[in-house]
Symmetry: C2
Subunit: 300 residues, 2 copies
């Protein structure tokens, strides 16, 4: 049961209080795919320029990630993001964004992708996210991410998208912005009234909150003191969550909760290295081991 | 098995985005005692002026809180705090502090208090906190709170106190200030190396972290959208935690974890009303009910 993801594929330049790293493999769909690949086959839709290192494609393919939906634009340049993290490692400043070929991204799904049942629309232009949906008529579970930029400048398109989602994943400041509500519990419920059947609010180092039809809960982040680079933690969370749901081929309340926990555990590994490097070092067994520590941590 | 608490007893003026309330019963020892009184008898040590409303003493006594250690200074005025909360209800500004009789607080424990085994030193001058310890020779578990002011101006006295504590409870910004460390996991462990056998970092709306000899864990706050006034939430947390430990007459790892959860649940009620008013409306049964919801929330 493969999982479809559409989103950015990028090259990042990351500056943390400890170190600066250039030309790091990044992008929302990349982080998502790698996390999901521990659980299921992934079909990736994205766009890069012909500066895209072939080794990255090999890395993705080696993990069971189908890149036949990754367009390579001849003469184009790959999306790059340059950012700097504050000493608290939770706040960051975007120093430079070069959308390049991603600015004209018009995803066309290969025929083999169109039967996907599980779909994740990683952060992107809401109208483009909606266009993807039309290309997967057999979709059973559609979850999307969004960001402050679209909330501010493309609100109508975003509102239209929200009505067609099963789930929305967004971070705490975005939930407040979208609803004009400071209390996160109230904000989560308000987002839910905009359309999605469930809403996940990501709180960075403080974990994530879930708002479903019948329940509201909070799960803390797995505590780690080895925070090297938080880039992609939110997408890794979503990848772990969606990967597990796809593997289980279920999204009932209980499975969703376990999936949230897998997402949190996956994200806790991601922050321990630059870009995707830590995720490349670990195995499903490492995830399971930390998952049982996490479960034990929350039992009393 | 009564629990001893030493700390401030105050009258607060609280301004929230919703409402302003003057002359609200407050103070660290007050919030602590009321929370602890759901679990155990409490012996309170504090000081007030003769402006102190007799009804507050009756309220405390009616809950099994012994106030024979509450000095009333003739001609003196009770400590008052005036503060305003930001719209996020997590950040606040102190508009005015009148220490009054609390500025000269020199706690003398009544003879009947000196056999206490469970002791909580609510936020106060570290040298005064240390002086209390000398008066409870049979103490088995001593936990203290502190604040940024003492970290900044009375560091030596605080360092001396830390060496004599079983546990320290402090908030996230204070833990960072005390250790010069931005990562909370690293900060918690660094505080532990300063003396206390265990450390609890309170994260407000994000819950609390525990650092013990053999374990580190995080527990989220119980999610509520009815945040009316967060004043005293940290002391209520400590009161719930210490109250449960005293009731159980145990502080092994498992009991400590359950006690953390009781503290979090108690605090979640406290924020639902001004001052102590919500805590006065609820029963142990309400706490147990929310406790099982909280336990269920964290099971997967």
């Amino acid at each position: 049961m493969p999982l479809l993801v559409v989103g950015s594929v990028a090259i990042d330049n990351v500056q943390t209080p400890v170190e600066r790293r250039d030309n790091v493999l990044g992008g929302s769909a990349t982080h998502f795919s790698i996390a999901a690949s521990f659980f299921t086959g992934v079909r990736l839709v994205g766009v890069v320029g012909d500066d895209w290192p072939e080794q990255h494609t090999r890395l993705l393919n080696g993990r069971g990630i189908d890149t036949s939906g990754l367009q390579i634009v001849p003469g184009g340049k790959t999306f790059t993001w340059t950012g700097r993290y504050e000493p608290n490692m939770n706040d960051r400043e975007t120093l430079d964004v070069q959308l390049n070929v991603f600015g004209e991204f018009d995803p066309k799904l290969p025929e083999s992708y169109r039967q996907a049942k599980y779909v994740f629309l990683a952060n992107g232009v809401p109208a483009v996210q909606s266009k993807v949906l039309e290309q997967v008529p057999g979709r059973r579970l559609v979850v999307a991410d969004t960001m402050d930029l679209w909330i501010n400048i493309m609100r109508d398109d975003l509102d239209a998208l929200l009505k067609n989602l099963d789930g929305l994943v967004l971070n705490d400041s975005e939930a407040k912005l979208l609803t004009g509500t400071e209390n996160l519990v109230a904000a989560g419920r308000a987002v839910q009234r905009m359309g999605p059947k469930f809403v996940v609010i990501k709180k960075g180092e403080h974990g994530a909150m879930f708002f479903g039809e019948h329940e509201t809960y909070v799960m803390p982040a797995y505590p780690t003191d080895r925070v090297v680079d938080p880039t992609g933690a939110g997408d890794t969370f979503a990848g772990g969550m969606m990967g597990y749901l796809t593997e289980q081929d279920s999204f009932d309340a209980e499975t969703l909760k376990t999936a949230m926990a897998y997402g949190i555990v996956a994200a806790s590994f991601n922050v321990e290295g630059f870009g995707t490097e830590r995720m490349q070092q670990i195995s499903r067994e490492d995830i399971e081991k930390r998952m049982s520590e996490y479960r034990k941590m929350l039992s009393f």
